[in-house]
């Protein structure tokens, strides 16, 4: 059961922005509803007005140019995991999306909504941050683009302004030789830890430093300082252990049903090693 509210179906971004201005704190953007309706049911949030942006046809589009993948704000995890452009350009993202929550949540929930909720126990943020993805926003003053790393500002906190609407997520496509991997450990509905790794391995060595971002254990996804691993032997157990140490040091795990601080820190090390090993294993 849900308490009473009104749903406003809008057919343009301008209309959504106007309603955001009109209702302010009394309204939330509604797309998949998988996080929003749950929070409302649990009584932790209440909005008298929901602005349904799904009728805005252009927001459902997924497109790719030579260097960018653009995922519209109402594209669901289900849409993304099945999209041939995503499978071709970023198979690691397609695979991540195919394993978000469960099939029903994937069928309804959107990638943009996932980011907008700022839920710390989420799969996409670490990967999107590793890829340097940006959130395209439209508000009263026009449009702006914010890096995902800066868009999520804390637990359930984002940089989305009161009059803004997410329009799309833009993901720069990594170069041909760059591999991406996302590895997670999960016992409940959400990941206990998820690690995204991005990098190039040539002749067994990292070309430059790999990018490693740890998600789901902390208030938000945390990038791991990896500069010292530029050129390191990517197949050496010592290198992987050292990256794992850096990852463990980069997070402040929060104890919850998925495990204690100590357990999660241990998991961060193990999963980081697996994600980095996957870069080397997939290297040409």
């Amino acid at each position: 059961m849900l308490r009473r509210f009104d749903v406003h179906r809008v057919t343009s971004v301008a209309e959504a922005v106007a309603l955001r201005q009109r209702f302010g704190e009394d309204a939330a953007i509604y797309a998949g509803g998988t996080e929003l309706l749950l929070a409302m049911k649990m009584g932790v949030a209440r909005w008298p007005h929901l602005i349904d942006v799904k009728p805005i046809g252009s927001l459902a589009q997924i497109s790719a140019s030579t260097d960018t993948l653009r995922i519209g704000a109402t594209a669901t995890h289900w849409d993304i995991e099945r999209n041939p452009l995503v499978a071709e350009a970023l198979p690691a993202l397609a695979q991540l999306e195919a394993n978000v929550a469960n099939v029903r949540v994937r069928a309804a929930g959107t990638l943009a909504g996932n980011l907008a909720f700022g839920e710390p126990h989420a799969d996409p943020p670490s990967m999107l941050i590793a890829l340097g993805a940006r959130v395209l926003l439209e508000g009263r003053a026009g449009s702006r683009s914010v890096a995902v790393a800066e868009f999520i500002t804390g637990m359930y906190e984002t940089a989305l302004a009161a009059d803004e609407v997410i329009v799309a997520i833009e993901i720069p496509l990594p170069g041909k030789n760059v591999r991406a991997a996302y590895v997670k450990f999960q016992i409940l509905e959400r990941p206990s830890v998820g690690v995204a790794a991005l990098g190039t391995v040539r002749d067994g060595r990292f070309v430059g430093a790999p990018t490693v971002v740890v998600g789901a254990v902390d208030e938000m996804a945390r990038p791991v300082p990896t500069a010292q691993f530029a050129g390191a032997d990517a197949r050496d157990a010592g290198t992987l252990e050292a990256i794992a140490d850096a990852a463990r040091a980069a997070v402040e795990p929060i104890a919850d049903l998925a495990g204690s601080v100590e357990f999660k820190r241990h998991l961060v090390g193990v999963i980081t090693q697996r994600a980095c090993a996957a870069l080397a294993a997939e290297a040409l």
């Binding site: 059961m1 509803g33 309706l37 049911k41 469960n102 029903r104």
Partner: protein, 158 residues
């Protein structure tokens, strides 16, 4: 605003239903007497409330009824053809893939969506698709076997 009439197809019948904006899809279908769809966790985790909305499996406990406006909704009641059960239903009986039965409608509807999308799934695909449906009685082995049996059955019937 607040109250509206929606038009949808539920199983084989066209329906016009007056709902409030906050009405949930599970409230709508159970209100139509289709009580095979079960409420359990109420948080999209267990799958007991699974229905197909426009062919996609959704948690009807956390889906607004307005989403069904102009779309087909398929519930467990829509699978059998008169007294002839769907191959999935037959396979669940044959394999005894349930005990108390509370999760079964959601299991079968979810499996229907799987076989619609992937008519010839392997064990790994069945497990990955069905992992969002929780059964507290049987363990999952017989459920996975029933889904694979039904896939076989449907393949040989084609």
């Amino acid at each position: 605003m607040g109250t509206r009439e929606i038009h949808l197809r539920v199983n084989r019948g066209e329906r016009r239903v007056v709902i409030e904006d906050q009405t949930l899809l599970i409230e709508l279908v159970r209100g139509l007497g289709l009580v095979g769809t079960k409420l359990s966790c109420d948080s999209q985790v267990c799958g007991a409330c699974t229905v197909l909305l426009d062919g996609r499996p959704v948690s009807s406990c956390t889906t607004l009824a307005i989403e069904a406006d102009g779309k087909p909704v398929e519930t467990i009641e829509g699978l059998a053809d008169g007294t002839k059960l769907h191959p999935l239903q037959e396979a669940f009986i044959e394999r005894f893939a349930f005990q108390c039965g509370y999760c079964t409608p959601g299991m079968i509807v979810s499996a229907k969506a799987l076989l619609d999308a992937h008519p010839e799934p392997d064990v790994a695909k069945v497990r990955q698709w069905m992992e969002g449906n929780i059964c507290r009685c049987t363990g999952y082995q017989t459920i996975v076997e029933a889904v694979l049996d039904a896939a076989d059955q449907m393949r040989s019937a084609r």
